[in-house]
Amino acid sequence: MKRAFPILAVLSAILLGYATYQGLVVAPTEQTMGNVQRIFYYHVPSAWTAFLLFFINFIASIRFLIQDNEEADRIGNWVAIGVAVLVSIGAYVYKPLPKDIQPSAIATTGIAIAGIYFLIRHFFSDQGTDILALTTAEVGVVFCSIVLVTGPLWARPVWGIWWTWDIRLTSTLVLWLIYVSYLMLRKFSSSGQTPKLAAALAVFGALDMPLVYFSIWFFRTQHPQPVMGGGGSIDPRMLKTLLINWLAFLFYGSLICAYRYRLERLQRDLEETQALEAMLEPKGAR
């Protein structure tokens, strides 16, 4: 990873540069909003990336809480399979679903939940799950901060106000605050139980995610309707630019997560060695 990192970083920079060029120059200008609509190419991909990272944090936190208990681990596997099956079937059978929500989007989400669960179960164990949870929360907060900054910068010229206490905006701010408190808990608490407490907080905090995501369907809100999976329409060139930007941010986000993951591992190894050294040092040597 250490050797491949500079190459991947250069690739990421090229991809981000290309995506920005697409967003600022190539994508057509929106007729009503004008150029300010181009903020959308940074705002929406950042929101999607933040959601994905918080979601991985949620699954990693669950894994961290149950991984040491065989019975809980087995139940966890069946719950993940059950979620995938029930959500996939339910999406097509449950009729009161708002007609804007496409069943395929819900079914894909159900399968993705199980997929991410088993990927984390397979590739991460012990400390790895905890480090993954910490990493994704931290990088997720960075992306969520961008969402909260770019949103008002778009809203001011379009709505005439910086902010409104609307359900979508407020629940996003609450989500950001939950994960900031998660990071503060991890930074300032020295108890040995901190990772478990933080994991429990992350599991409860994740309950805000469906509220943020579905708020625009279930509540009257000023926030624009979704452009994908929600029946909204978008110019194909704009959609292409949006997806290129998401790909670029996803690539960059993954790279930053890998870098942060390695840093946390090094930090923990160092602290362990220093603690061991302090224990082995003869009394009065200092």
Binding site: R38, L153, T273
Partner: protein, 40 residues
């Protein structure tokens, strides 16, 4: 147009600030590891 440039600039300020913090922390940790391995 100003709002657009402000948004794009702020996004990169946030990303670069975070990246800078990570690089700083990594070099500090690597320095400490290096020190530790030189004086076992």
């Amino acid at each position: 147009m100003n709002y657009l440039y402000a948004a794009y600039a702020i996004v990169w300020i946030i990303h670069l600030a975070y990246l800078g913090r990570l690089v700083n922390r990594t070099s500090r940790v690597e320095r400490d590891i290096d020190k530790l391995s030189r004086n076992p």
